[in-house]
């Protein structure tokens, strides 16, 4: 029983950590229509920023400032936000698949920099010994993980509430208008370039935060944690849960991460040992299968977009109609 509970806590920590990144992607894709295919790159920036700011000092590697956990989280958001401003200014005039190709390439570049820039990132070995703040609080991994889960829950709740405030107000309405028809939005007084950049940067900051939570939990950072498959997983979470719905983003994170881990567990049991190396591919195929099924039978995701975004446009009786199919 303790085993199940401890696994459940472990599972929720990772699922919600990824959920924060899905919330970031939802702001970009769901609400603004920005096709960011470089999610893993921004997770990496946040993860490495966390490692450098809070990790132990080492002679061979720059960084290791041993700063508090919270400073690491904030620093990760600032680092990924700055990266997003630079990348955003370079790419913000790109649309649709052009933006996807550009961001995908940037994420691959970031990952390769992490592999090769040894004096800062530790190269292929990564950075180890990142202190998990819960280790200093209590004894025993179950209690430590429970506290870390509480931290992740608080961070997720803050991110969710903050985003809801944004998307249910005038700024969020403008995001959707730009997503739907940028020319019309500009003709109605909106500045699409500014708004798109803001959404891009805020979304990337959440991805950086997610990377930092991940690194803070597992205690080390490796460049191989930020391969393009991570971007694919996070996209699947958003599509499955429901684009342009923050509850959907979190639900998608839980479901897809659940399928991913359970299928890994199951495959490890039934696949013969000599095929274990291929089992990772089976997991990826399964995720792809879920994505295809959802797109075929529920293209708007499990909980899709609501017709009214604004908190103040909702109350009229005539508006009490079900969500669009």
């Amino acid at each position: 029983m303790i085993g199940v509970l401890s696994y459940l806590i472990f599972f929720l920590i990772l699922a919600l950590t990824l959920g924060v990144a899905v919330l970031g992607l939802n702001l970009q894709w769901g609400f603004t229509g920005l096709f960011n295919a470089g999610v893993a790159g921004f997770l990496a920036v946040g993860g490495y920023a966390m490692a450098m700011l809070t990790g132990p000092s080492r002679a061979a590697v720059f960084g290791g400032f041993e700063l508090p956990f919270v400073v690491g989280l904030l620093g990760a958001m600032i680092a990924s936000g700055l990266a997003a401003i630079v990348i955003g200014l370079l790419t913000i005039r790109l649309r649709h698949e052009y933006l996807a190709v550009a961001t995908f390439g940037i994420a691959v570049t970031i990952q390769l920099v992490c592999v090769n820039w040894e004096p800062v990132t530790g190269g292929t070995l990564g950075l180890i010994g990142i202190p998990n703040p819960t280790k200093a609080m209590v004894e025993g991994s179950l209690a430590q993980n429970a506290i870390y889960l509480a931290i992740v829950l608080i961070v997720t709740a803050i991110a969710y509430t903050g985003l809801q405030r944004l998307v249910q107000g005038p700024w969020g309405r403008t995001l959707k208008a730009i997503r739907e028809d940028e020319t019309a939005a500009a003709s109605l007084g909106k500045n699409p370039v500014r708004i798109r950049l803001e959404a891009f940067v805020l979304g990337c900051m959440l991805m950086g935060l997610s990377g930092a939570l991940y690194v803070g939990f597992i205690g080390y950072v490796s460049p191989f944690d930020f391969l393009p498959i991570v971007t694919f997983q996070i996209w699947t979470m958003l599509i499955v849960g429901g684009s342009a719905n923050n509850r959907g983003a979190l639900l998608g994170a839980l479901i897809v991460w659940g399928v991913w881990t359970m299928s890994g567990f199951f495959i490890a049991r039934v696949v013969p040992p000599e095929w274990q190396a291929q089992s990772g591919a089976i997991q990826a195929v399964l995720i792809g299968l879920i994505l295809v099924i959802v797109l075929l039978f529920r293209p708007r995701g499990l909980i899709g977009e609501e017709i009214h975004v604004s908190r103040h446009a909702r109350s009229a009786p005539a508006d009490a109609r079900p969500e669009a199919p």
Binding site: G169, P170, K176, A318
Partner: protein, 257 residues
């Protein structure tokens, strides 16, 4: 016919696409409170002139003054902020958003359009949103869209979309509204109601410039009338004069013997 203090003044407005001059040195004054009609055969450059005025395709040369202030060369959002609002020939709704929110998109200087204000001043954002919603409901009612205000704009009929376009620009209380073929593809009943709404707004002092092919509409509500052909302004004056002008007949009917 140049008024002393026009709402809109064009001077030598020119727009080229490669070797093709779509708008060729167009200049006219539109008086305050008028409903100007812009007519001409297909391809005369009317919509391109609208796009140039609205900043969508900045003019290559020439000046545009709105209420005395130059607006040529500004981006569309700046032109809108300066007080010129336009609708599109083919309506451009935000299809996944409700009619109400399509209308609420246009809020004058709302604090909540800056993202951080939604966190630091939620009370102010709420207050402004409530005021904006009340105004949107009024405009929607004026435009006869109350019954569908909770529906996604993508589900509206062509005529309703024309009304929604009008509702959105009305929200801004602009100095001038440019309507691009408001009556095209609209059934006669709805067209009559659209004409009534334009007249009612005009009676409150709203200036319009309207592109329209329906001559009944143009002749009944527009004065002055501007006629374009092949990028040039070939006539300006009242409706009776336009009917008598040989160049206008020529442009519409081809070379007369």
């Amino acid at each position: 016919m140049s008024a002393a203090d026009p709402m809109l003044r064009l001077d030598g407005v020119t727009k080229r696409f490669g070797g093709f001059t779509a708008v060729d040195g167009v200049g006219f004054d539109l008086p305050r409170g008028a409903i100007g009609g812009l007519i001409g055969p297909n391809g005369a450059g009317k919509t391109t002139l609208f796009n140039a005025l609205a900043g969508l395709v900045p003019p290559d040369s020439g000046r545009v003054e709105l209420d005395g202030a130059p607006i040529h060369g500004l981006t569309p959002n700046r032109v809108f902020a300066a007080g010129l609002a336009r609708t599109f020939q083919i309506p451009r709704p935000f299809p996944e958003m409700s009619v109400l929110e399509n209308t609420m998109i246009v809020g004058a200087n709302q604090a909540g359009e800056r993202f951080w204000m939604n966190w630091v001043a939620p009370g102010r954002v709420s207050t402004e949103e409530r005021a904006l919603r009340a105004k949107a409901e009024e405009v929607i009612e004026f435009c006869g869209l109350t019954r569908v205000r909770g529906d996604a704009a993508g589900t509206l009929s062509g005529g309703q979309l024309k009304l929604l376009e009008l509702a959105r620009v009305m929200m801004a209380d602009p100095k001038i509204i440019l309507l691009d073929e408001p009556a095209a593809g609209v059934n006669p009943t709805l067209m009559a109601s659209l004409v009534d709404k334009i007249k009612a707004l005009n009676a409150r002092g709203q200036t319009f410039l309207i592109i329209e092919h329906n001559m009944d509409v143009v002749m009944s509500i527009c004065d002055p009338i501007f006629v374009m052909a092949q990028g040039r302004l070939i006539y300006q004056g009242d409706a009776a004069g336009a009917r008598a002008e040989p160049a206008v007949l020529d442009a519409y009917l081809g070379d007369l013997p």
